[in-house]
Structure formats: C-alpha cells, structure tokens
Amino acid sequence: MNRMLARTLVVLGFAVFAGAIAACGDGEDGADSGGFASGEPVEGQKKGGTLKVTSNADVDSIDPGQAYFQVTYQATYATQRPLYSYRPGNTDEPVPDLASAHPVVSPDGKTVTVKVRPNVRFSPPVDRAVTSRDVKYALTRGFFPSVANQYVGTYFGDLEGAQAVSEGKTRDLAGLQTPDDRTLVMRFSTPIGPTAARALVLPASAPVPEEYARAFDAKKKSDYGFNQVATGPYMIRSDAKGKAVGYVPGRKIELVRNPSWNGSASGDYRPAYVDRVDWTIGANPTVAGRQVINGSGMVSGDTVPAPIVKLAATRHKAQIAFSPLGNRYITLNTALAPFDDPDVRKAVAAVVDRNALQLARGGRLTGKIATHFLPPGIPGFEDAGGLEGKGHDFLAKPAGDAEVAAGYLRKAGFADGRFKGARISMVGTRDDRGSQIVLENVRKLGFDVNFRNLSQEAMLAACATPSSKVHVCANGGWLPDFNDGYAMLFGPFSGKTISPEQSPNWSQLDDPRINAKMDAAARLTNPAQRAKAWGEVDDMVTATAAAVPTYWDDVPLVQSKDVQGVVARWNAAWDLSFSSLK
C-alpha cells in the first residue's frame, strides 16, 4: 500500500465526519487558532511510565524494510535507527542518526559515501555491533521480491546492479560497497546522489543483520518483521529466539526498552523518556479519541475524527496539536481531450470552489486552501509563493471565478464560454463530499460527466492506470516520503513516472521543460539552491493546471492531560521517543 493510499485513508478519516467541525474551524463554538499544544519538547520532561497509544489502523508492515505508513513510522522510528533522521521540531535538514556525519556526495552526483557510527548494537538475540555491511544488507533486501519495499526503487533504483537484485538474479547489490566496517559507498548510474542521500532518512536504511535475517528473507514472503531486531531505544517485546511476540496484527504492539541501546554513548539524540509503550490497534476512532482526552497517559495513534477535534479544540485546547501534512489536488488528464488543452484545464481550475472543499474537509482547523503544490514546511514552499502563491488568475479566488473560467473556455474556442463536447469521465471516492462539489463545479462549465463513486482502492487503481482513461480524479493527494521538493513533486508530475500500471502521475503530465528542471533540481546539494529550484518547479507545474491544488492538510493529534506529547513534524504524528508522561 503506498503513500497515496495512506493519504487517501487519511482523507477518508477526515471526510466521514468532516461536516461536524466545519463551524469549529470558522471560529465558532469558542474555537480559534490559538492555545493549542505546541507538540515541542520541553525542559525537564519526566522519565519512566507507560505511554498508551490507541489507533484504529494497524501498521502497514511491522518490517522496517517494508514500513511505509505514517502510522507505522511511529513504531519504526522508536525501534530503528536509519542513517539519518529528523529531530521532532526541525524538518528542514535531517541529522546523522546511525551515520556519524552528513553524507558526502561526489561532484558528479553519482557516488554517496556514508560513515556509520561505532557502538550501535542490535537488540537480542543478535546483540552485536552494527557495521556498514548491515546497512548494505538492509538496503539490498528492499529490492528482494520477498520484501518488495515500496520506495527503494524510486530513490535507490539507479544503484548499479539494483535491477538484477529486484529480478532475483543476485542477492549482492553491486552499487553498494563496504570498504570497511564503518564506510558505505553508494554508486549510482545517474546523478541522483543528492536526492538519494536525502532519502536515507527512510527506514530502509536502518541496519539489518544478514546472518540473522537471511533465513526469513529467503521465504516467498519475508517474515523478518515478526522476528526483527532493533537498534533504537525501544524494541517490540520479543521472546528469547527473537520472535516479536509483542506484535499481534490488528490487535496490539508492545514496545519495551531495548537492552542493547546505549543512548548518547552511541550518538542517539532520542531521550526515550517512557519505559514502555502499549499500543492498542482497532479502536473505534470516536471512542478512542474520547478515551484519550478523558483518560490518562494516552495519545492518539492515527487520524482523530472531527467530533473529537471539535471537542478538544473547544474545551481541551492544551490536549490537541496540529501538524501540516502533504497536499490534495484534483487531477486533469493532459493526455486526453479536452484536457490536452491548457486553457480548458485552467477553466476547470478557475471554477473549483476551494472554500467549499475546505468546509467539506472540516474547516480551517484541518488545513489551508492551497495555491500551489508544495505544502508549508517543505523546503521551496516560500519560493513557490508561500500561502498566497504566485498569483495565477485561475487560482486567485478560493470560492471559484466563473468569469475567469468562461474566459479560458472562450480562449479554447468555445465562443459562449461554455464547454460543448464529448462526455468526460470522473472518479471520486465514496464518503467524500468533496467529490460531489468538484462534480457540480465541473458541470457548471457545461461538461457532461460520467461520474463514478468508487472505493478508495478502486479509485486509486482507476486513476493510476492510464488505460482506464479517467479525465478527472477528484481525490488526488501526496505525502512526502521526506522533506524535499523531489519527494513532493517528482512522483505526481514528472513525465518519467508515467507507467502502464500504478502510475503516480495521474495527470500524465509530460512536459520536457518541467522534466528537465526536475532533473536539474534533483542534482542540487545546497539546501537553499535546492529549495529555490523546487519552488520554481512547483510554480511551473501549477501554471500548467494539470492538477488543481485544493488543500494543505493539518493533522490533528490528541493527548491526555498528563502527557507531554512531542510531534514528529516530518511525519505529522506523535514521536514516541520524545513524548513523556507529566
């Protein structure tokens, strides 16, 4: 399941009860934008105790080499140390975690060298020091068909020899070299190095001991996750043989202290305040939300439904925090007439009522109206115009602008400013009122629409398969894998990502200028230059109107009164290694 699907699940989570907090977001019922929990670490946080997490969703995979959900990362980053990671409040630049220094990228962008810290140990039963070979194996196994990591192909697919591993021809990834125990050298066939180096924050770079994991990975479907070892402050409770008995799918995750973890002695910045985390899966979201607010020692593990947001935002402000997360958009298929004409696309963009969409999503508390694609917090956001955007006329009025829309249609050859032509197809998801709003908006322009309301999985399949010939997908959205413009824009808008199946580029935008600009931006190592370049890419994409940016989400997170919750901003979820009891 991918981040797009994860995003859609989040969308659904909001949509089901969205209307209930619309008023709350508009400042009624005593709610305003101030006074909420900051989610930042504070001085003198208390040590010890048990933190209770409740979530409706289960992890997508307990295996750090497969984990990809926002929910999952909460457990993964408490138990594993990737090469780099983000401190809770700082999403701009990752810091060395398992690595001892920032990665060194060669001038041609084809080689990345990373140094691994000494003194980091695996939890029992392996209980030995981590070496660079363990990182090599971790990244390599991501390409094994038995593991099938969802993002290694995207960011590390250009490693020399990666394809041979993913085809099952070899288990040795030639592009990863370990000249000594502390050094990992990554050789790419393209200048993707600067971007790949940033992707080393992902959990596929957390070390895996080959001699232990080999037998699990050799099966048709690896069960290493159910027998994993940890390098982080916590581990899933396991028996003497290493079986992770603390994880029961769909029921619970028990995290206990990792006896092999030696904290700051191995360069780990995580304070790991609580002694234990008891995570209950499958909780009814509304009931669980109330339990968290009324109860003791609890935090929400996934999306909080609107009634709970309203309750917390009006009566328990100190118990709710908000964190930005990704974007939403409507895609217009540039490979199909009439949306191969930019003016027709701009007409649709102009008529979409983003105010109504915001209200349908839950009002101002749950996000901001988008004017481009890079969301707040992602480098390049300000370069792309910040909250106001760059002033494209077709996105100037959040409530929609029928005059501007008619003008673009006239420019496209429709003299009376109304579209006349063949029927178009549009796909939305059930339970999402936003789809209906988009449908009505598009119909206003004269479009004859064949609208299909599908389950989210079916919607994803239809929109990601070009042969389905869907003109408009109303429920697009993207979560970044890490805080970088590449992770936000390359997948959904590069012509290189168009594929017959599972294509993330729903608009099928294949603009040589944008593709080239993206390639150039991906090669930049300087953070400021990189942010500027991706900001420019963002504006170029916005100007094509291949998709209509509608919303930048703010994720609500709730905690009990006696919890000092700390938010991992890059993941928009509680950071279990930093949160504590009061």
Partner: protein, 320 residues
C-alpha cells in the same frame, strides 16, 4: 439415520466449496485493487510487479489459484498469508476465535436469560401493563442499531467515559486464560449490547408461540382435568412453544461465531468479525476468504446440528 447424516455432511462440504468459489469469483470480478500493485509501491518496475505476482501466485489463472488454495486448505488446513500483514491467515483467525466465542457465548446466555422470562410473562399477562411494557421495550431494542446502542452504552455506563461508571469500557478486552475476572468484566457490556436485539426478538417470538399454544385444545383439556396452571404452562405450553426458538438459536449462534462486526468494532473486541471487516477494507483476499470460510463453516455446522436434532426428534424429517 446414518444415511441422512452422511447426505447432510456431503451437503456441508459442497456448500463450503461453493462459498469459497463464489468469494474467489467476487473478488476477481468486482473492481478492486491489484494486490501486487498495492505491495509494489507507487513507481514499480514491470519486473518487480511480475516478481510479486509470481510470489503471491497471482500470475496463474484464477482456477489454478483457486485449486492451489483449496488444496492447501484441505490437505494442510493452510489458509495462506494475509496480503496486508504477511501473517498466516489461519493463525490470525485462531488468535481471534476465542474472543468471538467469548462474545457469542456470553451474549447467548444473556439473551436467553432475558427473553425466556419476559416472553413467558408477556404471554401470561397479555394486554396488561407488564405485557405492554415488555413488548414496548422489545420494540425499542429491536429498532436500535447495535452500533448506536454500543456507543450509548459506553457513554452512559463505561468506567472511563460514562455518566454512571459501572462497567469496563472499550479497548479493555482480556483473554479468559490471562485473567478470568478481567475477561468477564471487559465483556459484560458487549454481551448486553449484543444480546439486546436478540433478547427482544426471542421474547416476542416466544410470546407469540406461547399465545398460540395456550389456545390449543390439549391445553384446555389439561386445564379441564384440573392440572395445576403452573404445570399446564411450563409442562404442556412452554415446551412446544420453545421448539422453534431452538432452531433459530442454532443459526444465530452460527452467524455470530462468524463475527459480530459492529459490537466487536465499537468495543474493540478482537474477534473474527472485525478481522473480516478490516480485510474487506484492505482488499486482503486470503483473509477475506479465510474469514468467510470460517463464518460459513459455523453457519452450516449449526444448521446441520439443528437439522440432526430435528431428525432425531421427528423421524419424518429424515425422509422428507
């Protein structure tokens, strides 16, 4: 009788085969996500997709996949692996089964304990205030959606959220083997919520049956012979009136063992119903198939037991 039992057992096998085949066909016919594409991520290479399809056996024709699946089920009781969690389906179902059995068994006891006296009193006090009160309450209980009733019960009576904190609330389920007292405490409210509509239905049914039976000639004869009223009611009236309830009880138990989705969801009782619900949401075919087969198994077995009981009681049924 042996021939009858053999015939019915063959039907059970045929029915389970049909259920499994239909589930397979539905999954492949209706629009759904491709499990290989879901696993492969957002920018998979065709090679990776092909490898995953091969690993999951999705590259084979549907009938070959079905044959392989059924072979695993019959020969090794192997229900495959979940696409979502990679865990063995059999282990997950067996892990959830005790919770479902606990929920069902307790609810059955509660609803019978409520329905039998209420139905009896209603029939004996027909059109009096006891009858009207009981049947009015029964109507409310039947009409109230279980999901809503569960939430109301939680917000009224749970120790952590309720106005009158009496019972343990949601997310408190403990297995019987861990702590019997905590097990019972965690299930008290789910038992009552699940039992409410069943108790109401059974009470109404018993009342109607009993009213019909009590107007039979043999009841009048018994009374005319001077048989004490208590014996007339309990000995001559209740037994025939209760027989249809036994039939329905068997089927209801079978259905509930297949999972009480709503109650399990509201109270987070980790049973088979919620497992099935999650599997459907995630297009997790092996888990859907496993839970459907288990549910169907319980229903047909319950049906079989009821039929056998009837055949044993009434020989005419065997040749019907």
């Amino acid at each position: 009788m042996a021939g009858y039992v053999a015939r019915r057992l063959l039907w059970v096998v045929a029915l389970l085969l049909a259920v499994s085949a239909i589930t397979f066909l539905i999954f492949y016919t209706l629009p759904s996500a491709d499990p290989a594409a879901i696993r492969a991520g957002r920018q998979p290479t065709p090679e990776l997709l092909a490898q995953i399809r091969q690993n999951l056996g999705l590259d084979e024709p549907v009938y070959v996949q079905y044959w392989r699946y059924m072979k695993g089920v019959v020969l090794h009781f192997d229900l495959g692996f979940s696409y979502a969690s990679d865990a063995p389906v059999r282990d997950q179902i067996l892990d959830r089964l005790p919770a479902t059995i606990s929920l069902t068994a307790g609810a059955v006891v509660v609803w019978l304990a409520l329905a039998l006296p209420v139905g009896l009193i209603s029939a004996l006090r027909r059109r009096r205030w006891q009858d009207r009160l009981a049947m009015g309450a029964a109507l409310v209980a039947i009409s109230a959606p279980v999901y809503w009733l569960g939430l109301v019960a939680l917000y009224l009576f749970s120790k952590d959220l309720g106005r009158f904190p009496i019972f343990e609330g949601a997310n408190t389920y403990r297995p019987l083997t861990d702590d019997p007292a905590a097990w019972a405490a965690s299930l008290l409210m789910p038992w009552f919520v699940l039992a409410a509509s069943f108790a109401a239905f059974y009470a109404r049914l018993l009342r109607a049956n009993l009213l019909e039976v009590m107007s039979e000639d043999y009841i009048r004869t018994a009374r005319a012979k001077g048989v004490p009223e208590r014996r007339v009611v309990l000995g001559h009236g209740l037994r025939p009136a209760i027989t249809p309830l036994v039939t329905i009880l068997g089927l209801d138990i079978g259905i509930l063992l297949g999972g009480a989705i709503l109650v399990e969801s509201v109270f987070n009782v980790p049973g088979i119903g919620r497992l099935a619900y999650d599997a459907i949401r995630q297009a997790d075919l092996p888990m859907i198939q496993g839970t459907v087969l288990f549910g169907a198994f319980f229903i047909v077995v319950a049906n079989l037991l009821v039929d056998l009981a009837y055949a044993w009681v009434d020989p005419r049924v065997r040749t019907a």
